[in-house]
Amino acid sequence: MTTPEAALPKTHYLNADYGWKSWLFTTDHKRIAILYLVSITFMFFLGGAYAVVIRLNLLEPTGSLVSAETYNKLFTAHGVIMIFFFLIPSIPATLGNFLIPLMIGAKDLAFPRLNLLSWYVYIVGAVFTLYALVAGGLDTGWTFYTPYSTVFANTNVIAAGVGIFIAGFSSILTGLNFIVTIHKMRAPGLTWFRLPLFVWAHYATSIIQVLGTPVIAITLLLVTLERAFHFGFFDPNRGGDPVLFQHLFWFYSHPAVYIMILPSMGVISELVTCFSRKRVFGYNFIAMSSLAIAGLGFLVWAHHMFVAGISVYAAMIFSALSFLVAIPSAIKVFNWTATLFRGSVSWQTPMLYAFGFIGLFTIGGLTGLFLATLGIDVHVTDTYFVIAHFHYIMVGGAIMGYLGGLHFWWPKMTGRLYPEWWARVSAVVVFLGFNLTFLPQFILGYLGMPRRYHAYPPEFQVLNVMSSAGASILGVGYLIPMVYLAWSMRYGKVAPANPWPATGLEWQTTSPPPTENFPRTPVVHEEVYDYSAPPKEAALV
């Protein structure tokens, strides 16, 4: 498949320096990406462990495995960890951090120390939140709805709120760094429309992080102040309006979904074009649709609140706008599919994940239309239909893209190839397990099973058992890559500089790259994704 005589470069970013200090005080974006990778992987399996107990409990209608109180803490912990500490940093802080400077031919991000600071901020936030989850737990749901969170909950809301507040700044700093880097650090000749779509997607993501995150920060700060002092903004007994909290919460938390899915879309664009050996179909449309999603994504938040008591007219405005944001997503899916046409389609692991992503994201996106449609949303909101929908986006979409990207760039990050057979098996297992877990939940939702139920009427059992069975398969699917990727770091075949082969500057340097990425600043002469001929050999090795 690849040239067997490939050898690791003598010095690269991984062996440039040794010792724990060289990691904890590094300002190298690649090492920081690895720090993030380790942290979020831990968070992913921790959040996953909570999911396992949730699914086990729901095997049986009376939910006899854990108490209701425990169950509430479980789903809250699952949501808080997965959303704020895994999905939001997932692709940007790891793959984005690692690849953006490489893709634009820069030595590092614009603010390397800020980059390291963002990781420490993330860790501090995580410590606060994990403390809250361990000491007393948190039972508000990840949504922190008032007045439950401000007045009635007896759990550790303040510590968790402070933790998420802090972690928010990590996200802001990452976004800020990316925006400045993409604007100011591009290599000579790398014009905006020669940028890889991965970079475009991260640019759009960063805009959301910078503009949305401060609003959730101030909102959670106010929730904390409302608990600690007597601020009454969200407490009806003090003249406040709990629905106002929902407005502010979803102003961030809806666009936050795009923080999770846009980078994944960027990954898929790279995978589809590389493994079809074709310039991506409709490059401009995919690039611009990322920006459109970032912009329109901020105009739709109240579709989470159609039954919450907002005015019927506001509901209509938000419903109409919600449909608009579906269009750019549809454009992307159609363009990816069209890219395969008359290509040379390889079925290597990253592409399998890309196929999976496109299928699952399509289902996730289309079921989003049900939730934007006012008359249907009333019935399905706050049921398992919503759970299934957003897992199709965040797990079927974001995590499939993340895994696809991780496999695609694994040789670049570690200098080693992963075992292809195992990787293909696990991709298929993840896909099947995922669908078995979450397809039944659409039906459960339409049948009326509300979310966050510790126990449920017996007629819902069959579907719940199917879902739990699927979850166990999914869990295995996630564990396999964990094992073989770790194994490959030591025993995997040494990767050449450009194993697939692919276009893009990151493949023009060694695997793994040297500390300053390129021996000399690259100059770009070609258009993006030029697959009309074999990509040139790694010229900058």
Binding site: T143, G309, M316, F334, W347, L374, H379, D382, I443, A455
Partner: protein, 336 residues
Amino acid sequence: MTGFPLFPERASTLATEVDALYLYLVVVSVFFSVGIALTLIVFAIRFRRRSETEWPGEIEGSMTLELTWTIIPFLLTVVMFVWGAQVFFHMNRPPDGAMAVNVVGKRWMWKLQHPTGQREINELHVPVGRPVKLTLTSEDVIHSFFVPAFRIKKDAVPGRYSVAWFEATKPGTYHLFCSEYCGTEHSKMVGRIVVLEPAEYQTWLAGGPAPVSPAAAGEKLFTELNCVTCHRADSGGRGPLLHGLFGKTVQLQGGETVVADEAYIRESILNPAAKITAGYQPIMPTYLGQVSEESLLQLIAYIRSLSAPSGEVAPPPGAAGGPTPSKAAGRDRLNP
């Protein structure tokens, strides 16, 4: 048989509307997801890589295609939006003369009261074929009143009223869920809606101890709280005359007007100075903290009954005397 249904029971007039809309979306979704999946599979096989040295060459994008797959989905979503909005409007506009049921959510139970006074907890008996209007509020956190068989759901928000309605079409027993997370026993905040034939409903009403209707209870409160000293039954009181007030437009000081609905009366009891009827002095004290949510609903029921001499329990069809605009759910004191 381990099978499961794909639809919940369809037991209200709204259920049929929602399911028709749902089917439209299902058809569109299946068409696109199956279409894309098939295209992917066909392309992936037909154009699979046959040799490592294969470089297929470029295809430029196509503006025609881009426009096609922008405009067609857009048009399909326009239909979804318009249709969905129509159904939603219908859900938010209770028919005139609907049977008024008060609902108070409290962790972790539903307290319901019939217009004739029967109280129920976590259970509601209603007659088939008669519109039922629910006025919802909560004593603590946000709850949500969800009856899958009727396809209705509405949050019960503390400090304000929201409105939902349904007309059951099929006798039977249906799930009632709280669908907004409300704490430890959230999943136990469930109950049943029992839909009875009208005759059975009358029998059910007749059973049990003689109830006090909310209007009657409100009347009693009205005396106990000394409201009656100012709001006299003749027009000579220091406060405005309440007979025939409900549903009318009230002229306020400063020239504005307001429709005397539940939200207005609630506000006037809790915050009398907010909207003063033209020609009266702002002398009424606040009753904030003195009346519970349930008592408020009873007082409102009493004031409402003063405007419906025939009794609102069973208004003769068409007795409303012309359409009065129904109010949006969610009017609350946050309105000026």
